[in-house]
Amino acid sequence: MQLLEKNEKYEQYYLAALPVVTTYIFELKKQWKKFVIFTIMAISFVILLSHLPYALIPDNPLPDTQADYFQSGLNFIILLTIFGACFFFSGIICSEYSEKTGFITFPIINKYKLVVGKYLGALTLMIGVIAAFYIALGVLGIYWYGGPINYRYYYSFGIALLYLIAVSSFVTFFSSFMKSVNMTIVTTIMLLLIANMIIDSLVILLYPEFEPIYSLNHNSQLISYILVEDFPTKLEDRYEDLEFRNFHRRIWLTPTIEGAITIFLLYTVICLIVAAIIFKRRQL
């Protein structure tokens, strides 16, 4: 009797998870071309920016250590994550409305399960792209400096994934109320790349003492800065003051590890909850 009950429970779980798994696999199949393009782009940029300048120009010096090399090579990861997230996640919710596919899918599948499956599928592919970038850079790190790979490189990968989840949640939030996929892509790219930078600069200019902990842009600096051997623990080591003709400017080098992780998680949770609420109320 107990065995039957257990089997029934498992069957219920299986039936509940089946739409998510089906959508997940469908999303993987649907977006694989985008994945291939982004992976090729990621590897090409690693080779173009972190290999060829050293291989082709004899005068151009290699950084001193493997960690320094990784730090200089990781500058492009922010752009790749933002563009990738915008292209992979922009259509997660709004495409069901703009392309009217919701009329077919929503009556059959629970709409939350559909979105969860799509989100996880896109996230898996983007993790693949980021992993390809890190693997390519790691292989070049071994090529130039020998093994093993500096252990902080794995921390950097972990923080890059948290950043990816935060950015993807931000894009999903915009996808929940925007009308078309293209609009979502343009808006989120503008916000994450340009608006974010402008706001950060204004805040730093107006309130130089205030650390822009709210900013995804500022927190993303931890991805490369975690590779620094003596990670700053004191506040005064985390910024540099510049003065030019009585003009005072503060440059924030890195957030704290705990601070950045908390902000990434906050962005993820808040954006996904708000997206879910908007999605629930949105009519076809």
């Binding site: 005068d59 250590t65 071994i142 090529y143 130039w144």
Partner: protein, 326 residues
Amino acid sequence: MAKLLKRDGVKRISLGFFILSTILIGLCSNSMAASTTYEPALNKGTVVFKVDQYNEGKWEDTVDRELEPDDYFDGDSDEIGARSKITIKNLAEYKWDLYDALIFFFDVESFIDEDALNQTELFYLLSFLSKDYVDALYPEEHKVWEALTVQWDFETEEFDESPDEKNYILPIFQEPKYYRDLLDDYNKWALGLNTTMLLLGIEPFPILDGDDFLWLLITSGIFTIARPFNSYLTTLIDKLGSDDAEVKGNTLILERKGEEEYIVEVTFSDQGMQSSLVIKNDEGRVIYEIVQDNTDTIVLIVSGVIAASIAGIIIVIMRRRKKFKQ
């Protein structure tokens, strides 16, 4: 008329012969020049060295009773398994004069025992070591390819993250004869200063012959040569007048006398760096050996082959599936 034509013919033949010989001589001189033109083989990247063999007893009996390998090669080089690492950051053309050689090759600063001198004596002595003084007396400059590197000393444990020495310079002289010029200038400079050193009651700078200089180069860890290696080494020992040195392929063999006679064999890698150093006694038994450690390269190649094989297998399976579906 016939005579005139004959004369013309002779003239033409002579002219042709002259032009041909001029071209041939030109070609010959070009090829001669080409054979003595050296080029650097050093590339950016990291090289790891490992102490492979060390027989302490034999070292004391044969090489030196007082000094150990770590006095020559630094770090933990007196421990089997200790590894050192050097990362070549870039390669650029510069010019070296005697002052650069005094600092980097002859390491003259380490000779001066500062505790044995008072302030005035030290100041006086250091004035002979100043760049201005040395450059004024020995202004000759020699073309060199200079590799900027960072270096980790021999360690038995894992390498520290930060290198032991930043901005460590490996010079490759564009002509082997420059070593001779620098050695001559050094000996002149040392002779000029040694009287002062003796007056001050400190040990004078050693006067070196070609063999001593070769040994100094080998133990300095910065001895790097240009391509073609065999020709470079042969010219070098010829110019230095080293009687106890010979060249076999890319290997320099030097006979030395310590406690007893011993042989030093230095092999140069395809980049012109010292890839192995073997010290043997006269019976041919290895006393000490440093070799290049290629474990990382092998791991990288094996990983590459495995990754390529996996990718290949996946592609084949996908193609078969497609065919099967069709």
